[in-house]
């Protein structure tokens, strides 16, 4: 099973192995230099590890090794029990991820309740959500977006991988209610016309 591997590939593999966090291409290059095609090396490695106990994955432009998901039962220990997110936090996270960037008011408009102070804090503490500037409207509200740690944690290569995001967008469910109403309004006028006729 011994196979020759070129040194560039080996270097990339070793750097990813010891790194404390997922690495961007630029960060990888700082260590492995420019001696080879980095993206090709990553693809080769990723293919090589596919189906093994360890996989090489890309999340939000950052690469890291992780164990295969189907082995969770062997690796999971009691202390690993991830803290369960409250329903409020879960919904808020979903709203931020699917709508980003969003202001607190926009989150509240969708949920129909005020966002409790702790909710955003919990998400930011987890490293999944970050303030992403201010919306240039009166009051200049803070807007929030997800982080690359969010993508890593939930195993997403990018936001396009968010479950069902294309369907939701196509169904207009990511549009604000007002926008959806406009679209429907035109339709209902036609219907009314027909009714009148």
């Amino acid at each position: 099973m011994i196979e020759e591997q070129d040194d560039f590939l080996r270097a990339v593999e070793a750097v990813l192995f010891v790194s404390e966090q997922p690495l961007t291409l630029a960060e990888l290059k700082l260590h492995v230099g420019e001696a080879g095609d980095l993206l090709a090396a990553l693809t080769t490695l990723s293919d090589h590890y596919a189906g093994r106990g360890i996989n090489l994955v890309e999340r939000g432009g950052r690469w890291h090794f992780q164990t295969a998901a189907d082995l969770a039962h062997i690796l999971r220990r009691e202390k690993d029990e991830t803290r369960k997110l409250s329903r409020a936090a879960m919904e808020t996270l979903a709203i931020i991820a699917y709508h980003e960037p969003v202001s607190r008011a926009e989150i509240e408009a969708i949920r129909g309740v005020q966002v409790a102070k702790g909710t955003l804090d919990v998400l930011m503490e987890a490293g999944w959500v970050r303030p992403a500037g201010r919306r240039e409207v009166p009051g200049r509200p803070l807007i929030y977006a997800t982080t690359h740690e969010f993508l890593s944690h939930f195993g997403l290569s990018s936001r396009r991988d968010l479950p069902g995001i294309d369907d939701l967008r196509a169904a207009g469910l990511l549009d604000p209610v007002d926008l959806a109403l406009e679209g429907l309004g035109a339709q209902s006028v036609v219907e009314n016309d027909e009714e009148d006729a």
Partner: protein, 260 residues
């Protein structure tokens, strides 16, 4: 037993103080009610939903549950919506009740969509739960190599400063014009011998002086006057604080001098 220090009994009302904590706001409750109607939110009957909600709130009030204000606001709004939906079409205000109902339906759809999205997100293979990274990676080391910056000017300026700092410092005390006490005693003693009447202290000062010399002469002459008074050679008089000081030769009255 009545004890003065027993706190008054906490009133135990029959009211069951239950808030609607299981529901996160009226929209949440509405969504839960809507889902009992039909799976597809696009097909729900808003009118039926309104009735359910109002019945729910009514039931809660019968149980004397404390209802948060926003539930009541929603109830009032839904009651309005219901009446508008039932009213004849031509008497309808803007916006139309159909639009209000549609708006509510859209909001429920959006909340439902996000709720499902959140659940699907949570069900993904998550790091630390389903997939694992290395427990203690060695880490990549960044060795910072210092490159020192210094210019020739920095160098010679530093040396200049050391030399300037460590040169023996010579303190020259400028010779200032002063009238010494001895001089003043000599002068005042001589001049006062001729003064029978009270004469202001200033009259004993050398003329044509100004600045520090004048101040030194004044101070020394005053001290000289005190010394001469102590010796019994002159008398000093002052009417009050800061008033002019007058001097005259001591009147030879030996007894008086003794008493002083």
């Amino acid at each position: 037993m009545d004890d003065l220090f027993t706190p008054p009994a906490v009133p135990r009302p029959e009211t069951l103080t239950v808030s609607f904590e299981s529901w996160e706001g009226p929209l949440d409750l509405l969504l839960a009610l809507a889902r009992t109607q039909k799976v597809d939110l696009r097909e729900i009957s808003i009118l039926a939903l309104v009735e359910q909600y109002l019945a729910y709130i009514e039931g809660a009030r019968k149980l004397k549950l404390e209802l948060a204000a926003d539930y009541l606001v929603m109830a009032a709004w839904l009651a309005y919506l219901k009446s508008a939906l039932l009213l004849p079409r031509e008497a309808q205000p803007e916006p139309s009740p159909e639009e209000l109902a549609l708006r509510l339906q859209l909001r429920l759809q959006r909340l439902q969509a996000m709720r499902e999205a959140g659940a699907r997100l949570m069900a993904r293979d998550r790091i630390g739960r389903d997939v694992f990274q290395r427990e203690k990676p060695e880490g990549l080391r960044l060795v910072r190599k210092a490159k020192w910056a210094a210019s020739l000017f920095d160098l010679i300026q530093s040396y200049g400063q050391i030399r300037a700092r460590t040169q023996p410092v010579v303190h020259m005390v400028a010779v200032r014009p002063v009238m010494t006490l001895d001089e003043a005693i000599q002068r005042v003693g001589t001049l006062v011998g001729a003064a029978i009447d009270w004469t202001a202290l200033e009259a004993f000062l050398p003329t044509g002086q100004d600045g520090p010399m004048a101040r030194s002469a004044l101070a020394s002459s005053f001290v000289a006057a005190l010394e001469l008074a102590r010796q019994g050679r002159l008398e000093i008089q002052q009417e009050g604080i800061f008033e002019p000081i007058f001097l005259r030769a001591a009147v030879p009255e030996p007894t008086a001098g003794r008493l002083l």
